[in-house]
Symmetry: C2
Subunit: 193 residues, 2 copies
Amino acid sequence: MPRADAQRNVDALLAAAKEEFVSSGVDVSVRAIAGRAGVGTATLYRHFPTRADLISAVFHREIEELLATAASLSESCEPGEALDRWVDRYIDFVATKHGLAAALHSGDPAFSGLREHFEEHVAPALQTLLDRAERAGLISPGTDALDLLGAIANLCIPPPGSNDTSRAYRMVALLLRGLRSDAARSMAERPSP
Amino acid sequence: MPRADAQRNVDALLAAAKEEFVSSGVDVSVRAIAGRAGVGTATLYRHFPTRADLISAVFHREIEELLATAASLSESCEPGEALDRWVDRYIDFVATKHGLAAALHSGDPAFSGLREHFEEHVAPALQTLLDRAERAGLISPGTDALDLLGAIANLCIPPPGSNDTSRAYRMVALLLRGLRSDAARSMAERPSP
């Protein structure tokens, strides 16, 4: 098979797997993923011998997108807006992809490397946005990106027996207001120019 | 057995069960609980025929204490301090009694009534503290107690593979600052007397 075709299959499988994980969780059948990608299960298994390989590949791609979003928001937006928009993108990642998040936080050794990869790459990307907002006087200093990522992920856990994600957005907004409140207070104390 | 002795056994069993649940989770052996209470397992089973009965009884007592704390803080403290101190007490309840919290949120039908009992009683107690703080101009209006209880409970979930509760306290403090920030900003805009 030509290389370009193989890459096309991989792309289609990753996109299909992501959609199936979002709608049905990480335990969705391999057949459903292959069907959505328009390939046979043999092709799926050739590229991703185990379910963990596929989950891992989807996760790596999601992380790449979170990093690319952080970089582009840093270039195109004011520090406060960049932070807010990136956090929205991250909530989206956690809240809608709860099946993936469950695998990430399952403590299953098959995914322990994934969690480290996530922490090693996503935390510095958020830290860059936080540092930029701090230098602009928008947030109080000393906020730890890893703490914040964990707190936001926890706030995205829906109430028992519910799929309501609106509470997640409201409560994360409250958390971000808290992050800004000390800085806002000290700004308010400065004399007007 | 005289009634007072029976009540003494119940009290000892509830106190022992609570301590064992805190240190070992709700799956701790019945023998360990009876041993700590200084009674035989037959006595334990006479008062609490199933494990669920015992978990339920411990939970009801904990809820009574949360309600009593809310009432006494309302009488003895300023609105802001009462709110902060009650939330600290609640974090304590959730963060240290994570085994109990897991049962509460397990979706197990044996505990579904407990969750309702919790929501029906604890949410109004917190709402009273929130309304009082709102009337004092300390927090922005419209905060839902049930949302906040859920968000705080989620923030108390420790990072994967860790028992660190310090993040919970830091992140809940941020959430409470967020709750106060809008009110603080509108206070700052008022002319000084």
